[in-house]
Amino acid sequence: MAEIRKPIPQPTPETQDFWDGTKSGELRLQRCRACSNVYFPPRPFCPKCASRKVESFVSSGKGKLSTYIINTRPAPGFEADAPYAIAVVELNEGPRLMTSIVGVAQTPEALPIDAPVEVAFESVSEAISLPKFRLTGGAK
């Protein structure tokens, strides 16, 4: 039986720039040139004011741990990781994204809510690097 692998994102025309960014070590967000709204996930118009005048820019990659769960029942391909946290990070620029917190024990004690984090890219295929995050504070 073939080994089940973790799902790897497949970019669409609207998200290609984002995935090109992560591959080159940049976490790109989008900003509306009409109303200055910063948003995620990427789309070719502003979800706040519907303007098509939007631009991509490189995020600081810094933010805080907004919330998470710790999964004891791994998705196919994630068996070796369990239990693992599925987290949401809120970037300093505002948008939130689902992610993993790497380089730290996957326990409630090691993962304080609101802990500062920064992006750490993980290459999962020739075309795709996933934005993951690591803690930057004193937390262990």
Binding site: P7, P9, T15, I86, M98
Partner: protein, 381 residues
């Protein structure tokens, strides 16, 4: 909708509930439909409107031998049936059809003839921006907002556990409930961890079952043998297909919009509500529901439940069938919440709330993706 213009005249669940190994998903739709038709003395040829989710309305209409002039296949998760009631009311008032059958059937446990529940396509928003991080179904996604809620509003693990404890009390009064044995907060906190901070007993059951409703104009309702349950207020909304993109992890925008719309339509106040159903796929949902529907203030729901207000004898009986946590949960539970509201307003519920006149069934779809709210009364306004 026009409050009280449409009534639920037929309502029934599948003959069996829990583990059903002799019916497929489509068979469960049909079993529930035939029970609801018998409930109000109709046959399939009397039905000219069909709504369902999970299966196609084409499949259900064909299988039952119905030729409809109106169909609704709105499928936004477990609250789809609340939206069907709302849409059916509008369709009946508009003259698009006269008698609507809404069905639900789901072989959630046995998975006989069940639809696929595969991973999202790698090109969808979820496929690109959530699936790569390893969520494995609702227990690992619906639960994500809760640590944020705990941090911001002081919810404790014990308070979250108490939601399950209180619902087990209601289930203990219901012969058809999956679980009857009383449980304690310690029992909940000592049950197996599924997705921290959620333990097994804070997650819904997985069972087989179904339910069906029949609606017609209130003017016709007197021709039926059943006690009419009038639809007096309705609401619906959607927010996001990705739980990570909720506007605020401590409150559901879809809940708030749907609930307000229903209350405004019905023209009632919270004090008028005798009985409440809030779709509880997981223990935090009644907490979000109580606050987002406006029954209590922000951050007050857990203590409200802890203090006994929602348990048998409390001032706001909540999830009186035992809920998704202890009654049954086939996957799209909204139908069972509606069924319990109808039973309460007919006065035939196993754990009957004395003199219940107004009931609300509030449903959620997806992981806080959608919401539907139906306010019912056994008195025509």
């Amino acid at each position: 909708m026009k409050p009280g213009s449409v009534a639920i005249v037929g309502a029934a669940e599948t003959t069996e509930m829990g583990l059903i190994t002799d019916l497929s998903q489509l068979g469960l739709h049909a079993d529930a439909a035939l029970n609801a038709l018998a409930d109000c003395g109709l046959s399939p040829k009397d039905i000219d409107g069909v709504a369902t989710a999970g299966s196609s309305p084409v499949e259900v209409a064909y299988y039952l031998g119905i030729t409809p002039t109106w169909v609704d296949g709105t499928s936004v998760g477990g609250c789809s049936f609340m939206l069907h009631v709302r849409h059916a009311a509008a369709a009946i008032n508009e003259g698009l059809c006269n008698t609507v059958l809404i069905t639900h059937g789901e072989s959630g446990k046995s998975r006989i003839g069940a639809g696929g529940w595969g991973a999202p396509s790698r090109q969808t928003l979820q496929g690109q921006f959530e699936a790569p991080y390893g969520p494995s179904g609702p227990p690992t996604m619906f639960t994500i907002p809760v640590l944020r809620y705990m941090q911001d509003l002081g919810l404790t693990h014990e308070q979250l556990a108490m939601v399950a404890v209180v619902q087990r009390e209601w289930a203990g009064m219901n012969p058809r409930a999956s679980f009857h044995e009383p449980i304690t907060v310690d029992d909940v906190l000592n049950s197996r961890m599924i997705a921290y901070p959620f333990h097994l007993l804070e997650c819904c059951l997985v069972t087989d079952g179904g339910g069906a409703l029949i609606l017609t104009s209130a003017d016709r309702a007197k021709d039926f043998p059943t006690k009419p349950v009038y639809v007096i207020g309705t609401g619906e909304s959607v927010e996001t297909p990705m739980v990570s993109q909720m506007e605020d992890f401590t409150t559901s925008k879809a809940f708030r919009v749907s609930g307000k719309k229903a209350f405004d339509e019905a023209g009632i106040s919270h004090e008028d509500v005798d009985h409440l159903m809030i779709y509880d796929a997981f223990a935090h949902l009644p907490i979000y529901g109580l606050e987002d529907l406006g029954f209590v203030g922000r951050g007050e729901a857990a203590q409200f439940i802890w203090d006994g207000n929602t348990r048998p004898g409390g001032k706001l009986p909540l999830n009186t069938n035992g809920g998704g946590l202890s009654y049954m949960h086939s996957g799209m539970y909204g139908m069972y919440a509606l069924q319990e509201s109808v039973r309460q307003l007919r006065g035939i519920a196993p754990a009957q709330v004395p003199n219940a006149k107004i009931s609300i069934a509030h449903g959620v779809g997806g992981m806080f993706a959608a919401a539907g709210t139906i306010i019912m009364s056994n008195e025509r306004p």
